[in-house]
Symmetry: C2
């Protein structure tokens, strides 16, 4: 083999991976948006085969030989090529350990699970979902051993979502959050609660759709390269840096839900749209890790989107979409309402302060499920007990409890902690950004472009070129959760006039 041939093969291999993943994404997107109800079987067959083809690529001897050859040529490779080889090596080592039939079976299971979960959630019927969840857990426990048999299974899964993350580190992190934030939550329980009743008037969905278009505009999303759709659970899907889709979910009496879903998913989308387009169709494309991704989405959602200057800047337009509903409401009242902190049942509707407790509960359950110390059938009971313990709320049924999130039905175990980590990263990014640019001056004018530009330079453009830890380091400095806890404590003490 000569280097030039090898580099051509490297590019062809990655394009093929891109094609299989893009095809799977298109099938997935179709399945959760417009596909008729009873059609998952056919997509499952196709998804299983596509996953099998991807798996076959990685288990092929030629792929192993190509990677090994290129590793011997390291000095001849530029940074991007070297990183591609490194990432493919990781992927190869990991995937080549999963037998092709298990991999295909799993892809089909995940497709089926999504349907079953939807039905189970609709009817609050955990028993319907239980056998599927059992299979998903069993697969993930098995996969964890394939990924890294030396690690505890849950550590091996965490490492997939955020390289280097472990239960030890997360126990410390969540411990710190508990220590600092539980007192704040208690104090808020003692004072007068914020009135957010006007957010629950009737906001017709057709008007909310137009409002979403406006929010996309405020975020500076290029509509020639991004769209917004509607699904049960909002998400972002990137085909390439030139083609990113977000979805939201409208509820007529919950203005803030879709509003902050759009801003949250918009943050994910801006990340994807900001990746160097030269990385399209190779493995440097896309966001680098779930934690870094959540740092971007939650940055726009909370640090910017739930700040007073942002609300003041957009509020006249918000009122223009809903003149009747908001005619007696000031920007300050709106600001307070969208920041109302109150223990509740649904993660995606939780306020910024109590949110991390929702994550913590899922973390505890996943840790035990994957660790093998909790049986799937006992998930609802444990879930409900933890909600009572951490948040003091009673879970009325599994629809509002352990069936609320799509993650497990999608096969994601170890993803949830990224939400809390991302929030902590975001707080550190904001602190650094404030030292370099006039963040709040721009936000006050409703102009987020300097912020997006800063994030693009420090985070977005790199795609997967650097390790997540290195990106976090250059945007945040050393990881220090107290920046996040300070931010939260300060914000909510002011908001509620605590001392």
């Amino acid at each position: 083999m000569d280097l030039q041939t090898a580099l051509q093969q490297l590019s062809a291999l990655q394009q093929k991976l891109y094609a299989f993943r893009t095809a799977s994404s298109a099938l997935y997107l179709d399945g959760v948006t417009v596909a008729p109800r009873d059609t998952s079987e056919g997509r499952g067959v196709a998804l299983g085969i596509l996953a099998g083809e991807e798996h076959k690529l990685f288990s092929a001897a030629e792929t192993g030989e190509l990677i090994a050859y290129l590793e011997t040529q390291k000095e001849q490779l530029d940074q991007e090529q070297a990183r591609q080889v490194q990432l493919l090596r990781r992927n190869y080592d990991q995937l080549s350990r999963i037998p092709a039939d298990e991999y295909m079976e799993y892809a089909q299971l995940v497709n089926q699970a999504s349907d079953v979960w939807h039905r189970a959630k609709e009817t609050s019927d955990f028993a319907l979902f239980q056998p599927v969840l059992e299979k998903l857990v069993a697969f993930n426990r098995k996969f964890a051993a394939y990924y890294d048999a030396k690690k505890a299974p849950y550590d091996a899964l965490l490492n997939e979502y955020e390289r280097g993350m472990t239960m030890d580190k997360l126990d410390l992190f969540f411990g710190k959050l508990r220590e600092r934030l539980v007192p704040v939550i208690r104090e808020i329980g003692q004072v007068e609660q914020i009135d957010d009743s006007f957010l629950h008037k009737v906001y017709p969905i057709e008007d909310q759709r137009k409002f979403s278009d406006y929010l996309m505009e405020v975020l500076g999303m290029d509509r020639n390269h991004s769209t917004i759709g509607e699904t049960e659970h909002p998400f972002t899907l990137n085909f390439s840096s030139q083609d990113v889709r977000i979805t939201t979910h409208y509820t007529e009496t919950e203005l803030a839900f879709s509003m902050y879903s759009v801003i949250h998913e918009g943050g994910h989308a801006l990340y994807e749209l900001g990746v160097n387009p030269a990385y399209d169709y190779n493995c440097l494309a896309g966001g680098v890790s779930m934690g870094v991704h959540e740092s971007q989405s939650r940055f726009y959602e909370n640090l910017i989107g739930r700040s007073l200057p942002f609300i003041q800047a957009i509020y006249p337009r918000v009122q223009s979409f809903f003149p009747e509903q908001l005619k007696d409401v000031t920007a300050e009242q709106f600001y307070k309402a969208v920041n109302k902190a109150e223990p509740s049942l649904i993660r995606t509707e939780a306020d910024e302060l109590t949110y991390c407790f929702h994550v913590m509960i899922r973390y505890e359950i996943e840790k035990q499920l994957i660790g093998g110390t909790l049986e799937v059938k006992d998930v609802p009971a444990v879930w409900n007990a933890l909600y009572k313990e951490y948040l003091g709320v009673d879970v009325p049924d599994d629809k509002h409890g352990c069936l609320q999130d799509s993650h497990w039905s999608g096969g994601s175990f170890g993803y949830f902690p990224s939400y809390a980590l991302g929030s902590a990263y975001g707080a550190q990014m904001l602190r650094n950004m404030e030292q370099e640019i006039d963040v709040w001056g721009s936000v006050s004018k409703g102009d987020l472009s300097p912020i997006t530009e800063w994030l693009k330079e420090k985070v977005h453009k790199y795609g997967c070129l650097l390790e997540p830890g290195d990106i976090v380091k250059q945007a945040c400095g050393d990881f220090d959760p107290t920046v996040y806890t300070d931010y939260l404590e300060d914000k909510f003490r002011r908001l509620y006039n605590l001392k």
Copy 2:
């Protein structure tokens, strides 16, 4: 190789083909429905690679060996297996003649062409589309030689859409239509024209959407296995017998356009939904030919959908969707209006009588383009001249002329004649159906299920098990275009009170 292993490989091969085609369909569907505007590049890369994988499967030595081995085992195979081998042999012989790089390049071109055509049509700018169309024609001329170098190029392409069809047969067929129908059209030009002005009142799109749902119900489409979407040009896409999508296009002042698009595409969809589900994921799945497909769509659209008993049956409900617009209109007036025959510019809006002249014009142009006697740059001039000659109308611009249809941008040359052939098949099916069941008694009650059942038994359920000619024969008897011309002449002489 032993038979059992070979049969397993046969099934795996076909599932893989299914997966690649399903993936491509999902990408295509996304591209024409929800994808942001400037995103075709990424889909093109993926589609090109998927097409290349499919091509590679067919050019693989193992595939050739598998097919050859199974051909030696003919006596051991059941009818379905034998037919699968026969169809794969055809596909193999054809595809293995197209070089992989040309095949992939073509797939990417078709993806790009769709975008360019959309833009060109919008701005009526043929010059924009011309270079792409030139490439498409060049590819198809080359492919024709790969398909069957012994045939004239256009005959080779026709044979792809309707096995056994030739220019000689079509010249005769269209000649007969011209001979019988031109006098009828002329006579209609001499008498008082039907008033259809009420069809062009304002019909809000939101109401038309609800009306479409009602039409899907009348057609008996199972909404758990089919959906209706919106695209520039209506079409039907089948993932499997369990998952079929149709699309329509709404224009506020054209009630009949979407109405008959839904019924037409619904006819395609009923065919696909009626195929034996045992054929899903293998090459017996789906409709057998374009001509037979069009026989179904145009059967529902015209023979049933534009009949007086059908209109009388559904009209009270039609009025209930549009009470203001139709308050002074009787069922008979509505029947006449949707059958108004008048030479016009747009094929998809043409009436049942003049429709085949639109097809004839495209046939003449394709024949010359693929035959090499017409250059792409001259298409607009020839188009406009033929419209003047056959239909007596002046084409104001290419948007209303040669840029109106999506077929060429999709790489389809030789498809158009199927529309006219299908209409002729349909007329013969109706004649035979009337001898076996009480067609008009059911239609009068708004119940199309006996009709769909008859078509399912004679046509739908077979999928690709039989040759198109055999299916036509068992549903129609020997092909005899005079049944169609008799039907048309009779219908339109009555409608216009001609002698």
